[in-house]
Amino acid sequence: MHIMEGFLPAAHAVAWSCVAVPFVAAGAWKLKKIVVERPEARLQLAAAGGFAFVLSALKLPSVTGSCSHPTGTGLGAVLFGPSVMALLGSIVLLFQALLLAHGGLTTLGANIVSMAVVGPWVAYGLWRASTALGLPMAVGIALAATLGDLATYVVTSAQLALAFPDPVSGFVGAFGKFAGIFALTQVPLAIAEGLVTVVVINALVGRGFLKTEGVKA
């Protein structure tokens, strides 16, 4: 869920950008390391970035009239690992703002934190945990994708609540308002994304592209 251009007050826009910087820088550092070891990985990662953009541009079938779409968070994190996703995700978010007017430049920092940092890490963590627990792969993937999506939406609601606390009930009330309103679109979307991800992983396994372990670029 992208926060649109100009929706956050200036101070919040700046603050979230500052929060995002270290994660993006770490992603860039990681990228540099990968590229030094394997120069050809650069093209693979770029392809992954393009892929993530396309995923976000494909409308999910569930919620008509909503401006939301799958973030690809779960899949990206499981396939490519979350730290480099922070950088790829940031570039993809920039292009989404410039090409689709999804999100924005002043809200880029906030969107990076929710969609390129928190979402991927949650999805990745759940994926690792479910593998460690020996859950069936489909269950693990569906959980990772769905909850990764939900985590993004929770963070976004919190960001909005921080920016616009309720005059009466403060942050908590505002969080309730934003989370409540956006739940109408985001919860079905997260479930749909979980289901799609399962189809994807099964098809990839069927094509011999994935072993039971995730591939890493």
């Binding site: 649109m4 251009e5 100009g6 929706f7 007050p9 200036a10 826009a13 860039a28 590229v35 050809e40 650069r42 093209l43 990662l45 770029a46 392809a47 992954a48 970035g49 393009g50 892929f51 396309v54 541009a57 494909l58 999910l60 079938p61 569930s62 909503s66 401006c67 899949l75 790829l88 570039i91 920039l94 292009f95 703002a97 410039l98 090409l99 689709l100 007017a101 924005g104 430049l105 002043t106 616009f164 309720d166 005059p167 009466v168 009930s169 009330g173 505002a174 309730g176 308002k177 934003f178 309103i181 749909a192 289901l195 399962v198 189809v199 994807v200 992983i201 099964n202 098809a203 592209f209």
Partner: protein, 244 residues
């Protein structure tokens, strides 16, 4: 394949203006939209950006309105949350009568117009090159430019796959749609990586060793345009501060 904003940017009357000029104009106004109180700051910014886009860069008004309206869904749902309050007696209309909601919408509309002014006059690669000149590391800018190339290639594939699935009655109802989308994504990912592998071979034939040197087009910056832009922005700033 292309996206509406990109098409407009490639064919806009300001396509050949230097990135610096367009960035100073749009980003300066963006900063003003955020910094000034929405009334009258955002209104002034809206006035200037719409004039620049419609009269300056000659973007068709239909295209422009469609773009401006796109993020409306988010703006309205978000503002709805601001128009109500949660108190001990439950949900009630905000005591300011929705003034806060209105000013947020106004500010967002102004800021969005600035973003769109930049986006419909300047192809994204120009901005990435600009960022490189400002010192962003080549690893990141090269990655961004490659992603740019891949996203169009993959978008084209995704649309073709979707058309093929529709021809065979996929994408009809929730279950078929989920399955169709899943198969589409599962076909696209290996193709993306396969494209990367073949591009590597293609570039190796031209001496690829890991870095991607390119000759970027030189642009001359019009001091007149910059001066006029800064003057205009100073005026917006002045009026905005004086009024409030």
């Amino acid at each position: 394949m292309s996206l509406a904003i990109d098409r407009l940017a490639q064919s806009s009357r300001w396509r050949r203006r230097s990135t610096t000029e367009k960035a100073v104009l749009a980003l300066g106004l963006l900063a003003l939209a955020l910094a000034l109180p929405p009334w009258p700051g955002a209104v002034l910014v809206l006035l200037v950006t719409w004039t620049a886009a419609l009269a300056g860069a000659r973007i068709g008004w239909r295209d422009w309105l469609r773009l401006v309206a796109a993020p409306l869904g988010f703006a309205l749902t978000g503002a709805a949350a601001l128009a109500v309050e949660i108190g001990p007696d439950g949900v009630a209309l905000a005591r300011d009568g929705g003034r806060a909601a209105l000013s947020v919408i106004l500010r967002a509309a102004a800021a969005l117009s600035c973003l769109l002014l930049l986006a419909v006059t300047t192809p994204a690669p120009d901005l990435v090159r600009g960022a490189r000149r400002l010192g962003l590391s080549p690893e990141i800018t090269e990655m961004a430019l490659l992603i740019w190339r891949f996203l169009f290639l993959l978008l084209e594939s995704a649309i073709a796959i979707r058309h093929a699935q529709e021809a065979r009655l996929g994408w009809r109802g929730f279950r078929r749609s989920i399955r169709s989308l899943g198969l589409l994504v599962a076909l696209l990912l290996p193709r993306a990586l396969d494209r990367a592998r073949r591009l590597e071979t293609g570039l190796a034939a031209r001496g690829f060793d890991g870095s991607l040197p390119m000759l970027s087009p030189r642009q001359t910056v019009s001091t007149y345009f910059i001066a006029a832009t800064l003057g205009l922005q100073a005026a917006v700033l002045g009026v905005g501060l004086w009024w409030s």
